[in-house]
Amino acid sequence: MLKQRRFLIEVLTAIGLIAAPFVLPHLGFAPNTVNRILVWGLFGLGFDILFGFTGLLSFGQSAFYGTGGFVAAYLLTRAGFPNVFLALVIGMVAAAVTGYFVGLIALRRTGIYFAMITVAIAEVFYFVEFNPLAEWTGGENGLPGVPTPSFNLGFTTLHFTTGWSLYQFLAACYFVGVVIALRIVRSPVGAILSAIRDNPLRATAVGHNIHGYKLTAFVIAAAYAGFAGGLLGVMQAFMPPDAFMFETSGQLIMQTAIGGPGTLFGPLVGAAVWLFLQDFLQSALGLGAAWKLVLGAVFVLLVCFLRRGIIGGLVDLYRLAAGRRTDRKPAVASAKALTAEEEQAIAEATVAKQPDPPPMAPLNRAGDSYAGPILQATGLTKRYGGLLANSDIDFTVNHGELRGIIGPNGAGKSTFFKMLTCEVAPTSGKIVFEGLDITGMNVTDVCQLGLTKSYQVNQLFSGLTVRENLTIAALSELRGKFRLDMFRSLQSIPGLSEQVERTLELVNLTTRPDTPVSELAYGEKRRLEIGLALATSPSLLLLDEPLAGMSPRERVETVKLLKSISKGRTMIIIDHDMDSLFELVGRVTVLQEGRVLVEGTPDEIKNNAVVQEAYLGGVHGVLDA
């Protein structure tokens, strides 16, 4: 939904902010309530980038809200700093720096560990504010007397005081916050953040330094929190110590979940609902302190039944309504049902008819001038406790070669691949890729060098579309493993759309670029899996059982696909489908019980007695079928 016309959302936000003072009073919103909503909304913009987009649920945002707020308030009250806006910015920077160091610790773990660590750290901030730093922060009294901003424009002085006057300043801040957040979300960094939310393992494997990006999201969230915290002090003319309380983090999370995470505006909507209900329940219904119970119950119900919040629910409703109008088209297509045989025949015919897509050359990298074998593994051994998965494997692949690896189940083929791509470290042995010793490197760096793999079990970014998936993989090759181009649009990256289009063509998904991955057929997902590896332009591509679980029709398509991508590229393929594999590759290595059994051309392997022994348990016949 963030991908419509350019600047549409920015313009709508501006119109909404300008119209608010004229509309909201009629709905029973006091100006102070609206101001509070804006501060929560701004606080939530950063939090939504962290939680909604990156998938990191932090329960400790109060630490940064309080840090930014108290730094700004201290500057403006006790230190006698004159410029309100500059103080807010300094508070924001202080919060961001704090966020950086907290992130270094908290991001050592993921999931519930991350949640627990952020809670614990935030609680430390609360106690530090109350005790060791009480001299600076006023302890439980907070810092009173925070001034409101005024700007001297030369000819006149703009002074923002309270109510709707201060609203103008807050609305301007919120608007800038939205513009920046939108740019971040639409930038390459934003795309990678959603990739991390969907599948951190694959995001790492296609060559992104996800730890760096997670830390970036954490710092962004801390910066927004810090600025919002400063605004809280300005708005109330008093910096309350409550900003550091766990309730602050909790309220932010609940408002975001109520409004809808991953929408940027969710926290604003959530805050509006929250504060409106709070006023309404307290005064109109006379519920007194029970308002929080009602809101808590509303929150639990929303999490149970409307997990994408109010905005998510509205979007679904809109899609449902819009979908009814376009529903008729697919009905016509499915009207003529085909038998399986007909489908197979049509598939083979269409596959044969299709022109070969232009081969996609691997990227020229520094190691390409290297003349020796592209990959050389010596004495590779992997031991899991008492189990010897791979034992003393020597393996060499030359440039341009197409190599097959076969072996019975449990022969150690996948473990061998995992060691080559540096997903698992070998117990002993050495791996040399293009003359460079890569033993002990991590999977991200190895992918950046031009060695990657497609997985045996699909590892896709299942919440994203086909095009977004390939974009994420292509970005790693075009931008390197970590770059902070947060304000650059995806469209402005040279070569990106070409590379994505070419990969779409290669893996034959040009007809469905904007389909969400969750709606693809299994064979299409398999091809996208290969496409993800391919979009990083590897010079050596490993394919772990690319044909597994495919229908005969899909096999035909995939074998053709593999043939076309093998041009100008070195590939190693593991598969159990020997007919297809022998047709594809030039040489075959047979693994058995973690060792290299034999190596040779497909014909040599077919007629090798030892191989037949291994596969057929001593039945000596010609391996032909």
Partner: protein, 291 residues
């Protein structure tokens, strides 16, 4: 110079607090280990144990009945909560589980606030355990001394249930691989329900045992929950021995730092947690598997 009697008495305070933390944390950790759900309402259940015990005490005047009432109430609440809500969250992301248990925790706290108001309530210790006891070199409140013993017995009971019974064997197997346990023909969902009940009861029991030490307020569980997190991170998520070790370490850190400067108690706790995270990311006694 260090004031020795004071130091030893703080060591005892740390032991009492640590034992309580160990009990609450083991409830949290076996629920997480078995069900894969981190129960953010665990602190609220600790608080509810105290209040349910208070109600029983006011009607019966018996501390023992208060302990039984508090524990049983929270256990039944835990079972109902698992049946009605948590069950539907096993297949949803961790984040949703955190959100829903967080929301439930707030509801519990606010319900108690609605009924009992925010004023603090007191449950006196049983007459037998009132007063102070001479330890030869110092005097120490009898009830606090008893807390250590009572909690040790409770932990031993939990240990026997976990390590010496058929149910415990299933629970420990479930921590390793709940899908496998399910496919062995054991009704894992029934086990999940029982585990949630036992875990909640551990918190409720700790809540009423702790009630005579500090006065009851609706927010009493919030601080405990945060301390429990630190305990679990230090000890290792899903590890029962880890919860006990982590609890004792955390209790002593809080007590000893409080003797020097109470303001730094949390800071030191946090430093300890950071050290563990840096040196042993999976906790002192945690396994590599779960994350």
């Amino acid at each position: 110079m260090i004031n020795w009697p004071n130091f030893v008495s703080q060591l005892f305070n740390g032991l009492a607090l640590g034992a309580l933390l160990a009990l609450i944390s083991s409830g949290l950790t076996i629920i997480y280990g078995t069900l894969g759900v981190l129960n953010l309402a665990h602190g609220a259940m600790f608080m509810l144990g105290g209040y349910a015990g208070y109600v029983t005490y006011t009607y019966t005047g018996s501390f023992i009945l208060a302990v039984i009432g508090g524990s049983l109430f929270v256990m039944i609440l835990g079972i109902v909560m698992e049946r009605v809500i948590i069950r539907h969250f096993y297949n949803r992301p961790h984040e949703d589980q955190l959100l829903v248990t967080f929301g439930l925790g707030i509801c519990f706290v606010e319900i108690v606030r609605f009924i009992f108001s925010s004023q603090s309530l007191v449950v006196p210790p049983p007459p037998l355990l009132q007063g102070i006891t001479s330890l030869g070199f110092m005097y120490y409140p009898t009830y606090r001394l008893a807390v250590v013993g009572i909690v040790a017995v409770a932990l031993a009971a939990l240990f026997i249930v976990l390590y010496r019974t058929r149910l415990g064997m299933i629970v420990r197997a479930g921590i390793e691989d709940s899908v496998m346990v399910d496919s062995l023909g054991i009704n894992v969902y029934r086990v999940f329900m029982i585990v949630f009940g036992i875990g909640a009861m551990a918190a409720g029991f700790a809540g009423i045992i702790n009630a005579p030490v500090v006065s009851l307020t609706p927010g009493i569980g919030d601080d405990i929950l945060v301390q429990t997190f630190v305990v679990v991170v230090i000890g290792g998520v899903g590890s029962f021995p880890g919860a006990i070790l982590g609890g004792l370490i955390a209790g002593e850190i809080i007590s000893i730092t409080s003797m020097i400067n109470p303001g730094y108690a949390y800071v030191m706790l946090f430093v300890a947690m950071t050290l563990v995270l840096v040196l042993r990311p999976h906790g002192l006694l945690g396994a590599q598997g779960r994350d």
